[in-house]
């Protein structure tokens, strides 16, 4: 049986890592590299790194800090991939095949699409044809809008009218290798994953579903697996607790989940 992967997600905003809540409240956690170095020392299976900058994307750094700034997002990616010893998925502001190529050439192992995949679903197919399905992750953000669950894009601000299950099926059919599934309302809420959503999506598609948003306790991971996720991810909790890798993995193992210890 395949081992369940435990994946930290780092969110980059204007050149610095942030803590996020509800996709609209952000607090600066630190520079783009420190946490990556820490993950190298830890038992982490993969890393997902998403640029959620609304503008610019660079950060000048500080003359009194050891880690300086980076002019833009691509320069940040290059430094992250040089630092990072684990498989790296990069997302944010990828709108075309050439954007994808740029990310791969700077060290990303996979890319994740959100807005562009909905705006132009053919991009999934084209990306998978050129780079392979294993390299294309479609990120599905779900939010309740007008009383029903819809896929949202543009950092969670734009309701598409698409049903999450329908969209997940379409993304898989078009060649996505994995889905990264988020529930906007649970982002930063620390109330656990949306298990019904995970179940609905993972029982619809045969590709791996990575559960994200809502983890508040390490025990939440195993519930995501039980609901059907192939990999469990979280962002915030990695920033707040010491040895979040071991604590997460041992909580999974205690619940009987097969993980790489």
């Amino acid at each position: 049986m395949l081992k369940v992967r435990l994946i930290p997600v780092l969110l980059l905003m204007n050149g610095r890592l942030v803590r996020s809540a509800g996709f609209d409240t952000h607090q600066i956690i630190g520079d783009p590299l420190h946490e990556v170095k820490r993950f190298n020392e830890w038992n982490v299976d993969e890393l997902i790194y998403i640029d959620i900058s609304r503008d610019g994307g660079g950060f000048e750094g500080r003359p009194d800090h050891k880690v300086g700034g980076f002019a833009d997002v691509l320069e940040t990616l290059e430094a992250v991939s040089e630092t990072c010893f684990m498989p790296l998925t990069w997302g944010g502001r990828i709108r075309s095949i050439s954007d994808m190529r740029e990310r791969f050439s700077r060290g990303a192992d996979k890319i994740t699409l959100n807005t562009a995949a909905v705006d132009d679903p053919a991009l999934i197919t084209e990306g998978a044809r050129i780079f392979g399905s294993q390299a294309i992750v479609v990120s599905v953000d779900v939010k309740t809008v007008d009383g029903r669950d819809q896929v949202v894009t543009r950092n969670g601000t734009h309701a598409t009218g698409l049903s999450p299950v329908e969209w997940a099926r379409q993304a898989a059919d078009r060649g996505a290798g994995e889905l990264l599934l988020q529930r906007v309302e649970r982002d930063g809420a620390a109330r656990g994953y949306d298990l019904d959503l995970i179940h609905a999506i993972s029982s619809t598609v045969s590709i791996p579903v990575i559960a994200l948003s809502g983890v508040g306790r390490f025990e939440d991971y195993a519930k995501g697996v039980a609901a059907g996720a192939s990999a469990v991810a979280a962002a915030n909790i990695w920033h707040f607790k010491e040895l979040a890798d071991r604590q997460g993995k041992s909580a999974l193992a205690r619940a009987g989940v097969n993980v790489r210890l």
Binding site: V18, R19, Q27, I28, H34, R62, P63, V67, F240, E242
Partner: protein, 399 residues
């Protein structure tokens, strides 16, 4: 990008504690402070009691508390004693105590009936670290940040006491780095990245400075000089399960209230002599430079100082209006603290000119510009002002 200011407190956007701003221009520090009003503190306290009970020991200390001897140290110890715990008090002593601070520190083992370990590094090593810290990062007090965030963990590991009780989380309190719902705990990552600005003890050795490409800063320090600065490995932390929790996640933390209560209950003493750079007399008694030239360097770097920090705290807790805070900024932030500066220059054997020239290398270009040989910046009360000449030939000296 021009510096903007929080619309509720007085923090500038280019603050040392990283801030974000919401659509109303309110900073993350104020937002997190406001969150505290919605917390059910009775529930939080019950969580705290549960956690402390998990760590009660039949034969060992129950908890390590890192104490400076300040109002908050007293408060943390007071809370632990109230729960009937046996704390082990641990202090990093960086050789910069104010007399009142030392008095408070030395009384802790009397008034609390506690064992107290005070770690005092070699003064010669400290002087060298003061110089390296200042020349490398514009911060002579780096040794203090390192000691405070290393020594209690080392002692916890050596004495096999897995729980450490911290007071408030500085970056969360000032800048709102985390949410009150995160129940943030102490991490080695936070220590290096924020408390130590990315540097660690090794960077202060000759070997480390060679690796940094700064051999001119070498002071002859070796790893063996810095044993107190060496953080335990992940394996050591994991094997004992060392965990550091912040009391400010579980009680409605208020520094002023702590000071008043501790004075009343235990005869804790605020600074008897006013500080040069702030109106507040109850903070930083463990290190004279914290409110002195260490803080003056924050003004040199980012254009603000303790006048702003303390006003922000007092505005958020309702003790001060924003306008009153701005008056404090105006009065204190720019002051070059003569008394404190002279002590330090003599302590480390440096000229004031070298101090000024070195300090100028850390000016943040988002904040400062040179106009007619003067450092000029924007003011929170509007307009721009000059804050003294560019030092020596600083403008021509490569960084």
């Amino acid at each position: 990008m021009a510096v903007t200011y929080c619309t509720r407190c007085v923090y500038p956007s280019a603050a040392a504690t990283p801030l974000t701003f919401d659509a109303q221009g309110v900073c993350s520090g104020c937002r997190v402070a406001a969150q505290k009003q919605e917390i059910d503190w009775a529930t939080r306290w019950s969580w705290f009691e549960e956690t402390m009970n998990e760590y009660r020991s039949s034969s060992n200390y129950d908890v390590v508390i890192g104490v400076s001897g300040g109002k908050d140290s007293y408060y943390q110890t007071h809370v632990a004693k109230q729960l009937g715990l046996k704390p082990l008090l641990v202090t990093y002593h960086g050789n910069n105590y104010l007399e009142d601070g030392e008095y408070n520190l030395n009384r802790m083992r009397e008034v609390f009936d506690c064992d107290h370990i005070i770690v005092r590094p070699s003064v010669d090593v400290l002087v060298r670290m003061n110089r390296i810290g200042f020349r490398l990062q514009g911060d002579m007090n780096w040794h203090g940040h390192c000691g405070i965030f290393t020594v209690p963990i080392q002692i916890a590991h050596r004495y096999k006491v897995p729980l450490i009780l911290w007071g408030e989380h500085g970056f969360m309190d000032l800048g709102g780095m985390y949410s009150m719902n995160d129940l943030v705990e102490f991490t080695a990552k936070h220590r290096v990245e924020h408390a130590l600005r990315g540097y660690d003890w090794h960077d202060f050795t000759d070997e480390g400075l060679d690796q940094l490409g700064r051999p001119e800063l070498k002071e002859g320090l070796r790893a063996k000089d810095l044993l107190w600065a060496q953080y335990p490995s992940d394996e050591e932390i994991a094997s004992l399960g060392v965990r550091g929790i912040y009391l400010s996640n579980f009680v409605d933390w208020d520094g002023h209230a702590n000071a008043e209560l501790m004075t009343e209950l235990y005869g804790w003493r605020p600074a008897q002599r006013p500080f040069e750079r702030t109106y507040r007399r109850v903070s930083n008694l463990d290190d004279m430079h914290e409110n002195g030239i260490h803080d003056y360097l924050k003004f040199v770097k980012f254009g603000y100082g303790r006048g702003s920090d303390h006003s922000c705290k007092d505005i958020r807790s309702g003790r001060m209006t924003r306008d009153e805070g701005i008056e404090m900024v105006r009065k204190y932030d720019h002051v070059k603290p003569r008394r404190d500066l002279e002590r330090w220059l003599e302590y480390v054997g440096m000229s004031e000119e070298e101090f000024d020239v070195t300090a100028d290398r850390f000016r943040d270009p988002r904040v400062w510009e040179i106009v007619n040989g003067q450092w000029v910046k924007q003011n929170i009360w509007g307009g721009k002002s000059a804050y003294g000449p560019v030092a020596g030939e600083a403008a021509k000296v490569p960084a």
